[in-house]
């Protein structure tokens, strides 16, 4: 690949990388840093990228590593915020009857594959992730996007596994609610 072409392709990827880094790190300066580091690493490593995979897949792989490095660098701050979030209690009582039955709520989401094929769905997902408290968003993205094992998350953040399950549950409940209100329940999908 010609360097000029590679630079152009990387520049075009930058907004996507930044959006993902913001979602995961919830810190503007960290997000800018990891994206810059990722782009530099991609340029430097261009020779090892022989086009076996898509450029985007390759660069996102680098971004994941840079994000993990950033979490290590900011360990103290990240774990303090996670522990503060772990102390929050959220029962979701309003969604359940007194006997524990789920009140009619979850809508039928129809054909989810169709949603996943739309770019706007991912804008809504991003907006909903932004609404989560930072501590919940980070742990959720660690689990679902970085694909950490739950035990690794507990260790990294210094929280108990029970706290970990509860926080992941809270993140899923809130995200589900937000997606339903802003995407699945709305008729304006076109």
């Amino acid at each position: 690949m010609e360097p000029a072409t590679l630079e152009g392709s990387l520049a075009a990827l930058r907004p996507t990388l930044l959006a993902i880094a913001r979602m995961q790190l919830r810190n503007e300066a960290w997000a800018e840093d990891v994206v810059s580091e990722t782009l530099v690493a991609a340029l430097e490593g261009a020779r090892t990228f022989a086009g076996q995979s898509q450029l985007k897949t390759w660069v996102i792989g680098i971004l994941k590593h840079k994000i993990i490095d950033q979490f290590r660098r900011a360990r103290r701050e990240v774990s303090t915020e996670a522990q503060m979030e772990a102390a929050q209690v959220e029962t979701f009582d309003e969604l359940f009857a007194a006997d524990g039955h789920r009140l009619p709520g979850p809508l039928d989401w129809g054909d989810p594959e169709e949603s996943l094929s739309r770019t706007q769905f991912f804008d809504v997902l991003q907006m909903c992730m932004d609404k989560l408290p930072a501590g919940l968003a980070r742990i959720f993205m660690m689990r679902e996007w970085l694909e950490y094992e739950t035990s690794e998350i507990c260790k990294e953040l210094g929280i108990t596994s029970t706290n970990c399950f509860v926080m992941l549950f809270r993140a899923r409940m809130r995200l589900r609610e937000c997606l339903e209100m802003n995407w699945f329940a709305s008729a304006v999908k076109s």
Binding site: K56, R102, W109, S115, F165, R176
Partner: protein, 62 residues
């Protein structure tokens, strides 16, 4: 009564459905959950929805 032992409310089923995505749950809980899902549409929907969220997040950047 076996049903008293095996029946769980939706609050518990919701938590187990989430926990199941993060670690192995106890065999007894697996049975409780399976039976609950057979009769509960709301929890079955919740199950499909959190599965979809997982797929959606993994697709980020693709």
């Amino acid at each position: 009564m076996i049903f008293g032992w095996i029946r769980i409310p939706c609050t518990r089923a919701h938590r187990l459905l989430s926990e199941r995505l993060d670690s192995a749950i106890a065999p007894a809980d697996r049975w409780r959950l399976r039976l609950h899902l057979l009769v509960c549409d709301m929890c079955s929907r919740f199950e499909r929805q959190i599965d979809l969220m997982r797929v959606a997040i993994r697709k980020l950047g693709e």
